[in-house]
Amino acid sequence: MNTLTAAKLVAARELRVKLHDKTFVFSMLSLLFFAVAAGVLPALLNGGPVTVATADTTVAATLAHNKEFKPLKVADDAAAEQKVRDGAAAAAVIAGPEVLAMRETPKDLVQALSVSPHTRLLDPNAVNQTLAFLVPYAIAFVFFSTNLLFGMQIAQSVTEEKQSRIVEILVASVPVRALLAGKVAAMTLLSLCQITLLGIVALTGARFAGVDTGALHLLEPAIGWFLPFYAIGFVMLATLWAAVGALAGQQQDLQGTSLPVQLTVMAPFILVIALRSHVAAIRFMAYFPLSAPVAMPVRLFGGHAAWWEPVAALLILAATAALMLLLGSRLYEGSLLRTNGRTSWATAWKSRTAF
């Protein structure tokens, strides 16, 4: 049996075991649930059109053209005021013209009835402030949390095989590389499915929430590019996750050995959010492999990137991933069969000749 067939068998087992693991499935579902909630709730909370009571036919006709309002025709101004007091209407327009409401000034209604000066936007691509914060934050958070969730799964699965001692039988049956490749492939696949689902949910949510088309125009490529960046970014760190799993002899050592990789995932999350409006910093991070999966989509969303920029960053990322694969698999192989407690990085690096 060749390495590929063996790796497929290993991957199939990993998938089966993980999908039967209730804690893991729960983590996946809750991430998805948050995405759904974040996307759809604002749209639901926004509610339907606002009911406006008025006796004035012209006003009623004007409001009827605006889908944000629902005119309620009443006999006179007193009746209109009564409707507002009863709660049957949110606001009323009476002679004057005067706008009545209970506590807050209905700004949208006032604006709809006013004549606004003509505005000319100098940077029409600029995204509104809420989205400018929300989207980088969401991309960084999704990268960070799914990488941590699925990366830790790789590490735990390696540690489990070491701790239960089955690893010696496995190594005697299939090439070590097949074991590693199978685990990495299974988790990459699962996490990519998760990310794709999140992406679809986010875009659908954005449409529901009525995000204006200009922002959608930027959001779509940002999320579209995020997928390949995410996949290669995940693979880049996957063998390192496996290596820290092998360095730990037991589950309780895993927090300690995995800390450097956890920090590696956390750093771009914090930096990209902190420096999101600093164009030069984001440009640098968009090319730096460890932060590229977060920073490049953010840069794309900001509308600052030329078409070739994500391609170039992706190539740099892929080259780094290839290097990291070698590095991680060497550490993994060097520590896999050292079953006496924790292995140091240096020992693992040097002792590859064990095979």
Partner: protein
């Protein structure tokens, strides 16, 4: 036939195997004995390819041992372990497939073996729910599921209750009878003595003795005899005065003695018969532990 040829291996500066050579022949049970730290486990790991040899070579049926050939070997490591949260049947099937069986064959073989080892009813249970003895049986099923062409078992009987030992012995004997070479290590020399056809004795990383059990026995048999006569009518005290006889142990009707070279054992027997009825007379065959103690000295 597996040949281990002049294999050496060091860990850091410590040489744990120093030119180890021996053969494991098809159809025979080869016992591998040695004290703790003598190099048994390291040798077995090298045979399975879990460790690499620094020097030396392994050949399998005449050609250099490859990964493909090793994949058809069965291995029971000293450090036992399976997936605690997987069911017994699932993991035996999985390991069978990793050894190259297709799904249907792996499922069929797993069911057969688990029944045979008395685990049929526990097949659907998670491993961690089983008693230690039953986990051990599952481990043996994992080593045998793919009908291995060579079996390497590191301490296969430790942790097994006597009933399970019998079942496992029977299964291993069947494999050997089918022509499979079986190499197993054990601390329990009486078990090895009962089971093995061939014997390999290792001490301090060197092979001290290797070959068929009977030949090792005769090689290490001293010119030592035991005479037992009828207890009511005779005794053996007269042996004291026979030239060429050195008494080692005398207990009325029973005596153990050594004969000087050139002394005829049949003369002694005739002399004994002339005095009283003889119940038994013959050379003292050394036990495995005696041979072991002698060769590792």
């Amino acid at each position: 036939m597996l040949y281990v040829d002049a294999v050496s291996r060091s860990f850091d500066a410590r040489r744990v195997l120093k030119g180890v050579s021996f053969a494991v022949a098809g159809g025979r049970m080869t016992g591998f004995v040695g004290a703790n730290g003598a190099g048994k486990t390291t040798t077995m790991r090298i045979i399975l390819g879990v460790l690499a040899a620094d020097e030396g070579e392994l050949t399998w049926n005449g050609s250099s041992l490859t990964r493909e050939a090793r994949q058809r070997f069965g291995y029971l490591p000293e450090e036992r372990g399976l997936y605690p949260k997987m069911t017994v049947a699932d993991q035996v099937v999985y390991l069978g497939r990793l050894h190259g069986l297709d799904r249907a064959a792996a499922v069929r073989r797993t069911a057969e073996l688990l029944d045979r080892l008395g685990l049929g009813e526990r097949a659907g249970d998670k491993l961690e729910k089983l008693s230690l003895g039953n986990q051990q049986r599952a481990q043996i099923a994992a080593a045998l599921v793919h009908d291995p062409e060579l079996l390497v078992l590191d301490e296969p009987f430790s942790g097994l209750d006597p009933l399970a030992v019998d079942v496992v012995v029977q299964v291993l004997r069947e494999r050997a009878a089918a022509g499979v070479p079986v190499l197993f290590s054990s601390h329990q020399l009486d078990v090895v003595e009962r089971l093995c056809d061939d014997l390999v004795i290792i001490a301090d990383g060197m092979i001290r003795a290797a070959g068929p059990r009977e030949r090792l026995r005769s090689d290490h048999t001293l010119p030592r005899y035991q005479l037992r006569v009828d207890g009511d009518t005779g005794d053996t005290g007269w042996l004291r005065d026979v030239p060429g006889v050195t008494l080692l142990d005398l207990d009325g009707a029973r005596a153990v003695f050594e004969l000087a070279p050139g002394t005829d054992d049949q003369e002694i027997l005739r002399a004994a018969l002339a005095r009283s009825p003889v119940r038994s007379f013959g050379p003292v065959v050394p036990t495995l532990s005696e041979i072991f103690r002698e060769v590792i000295r």
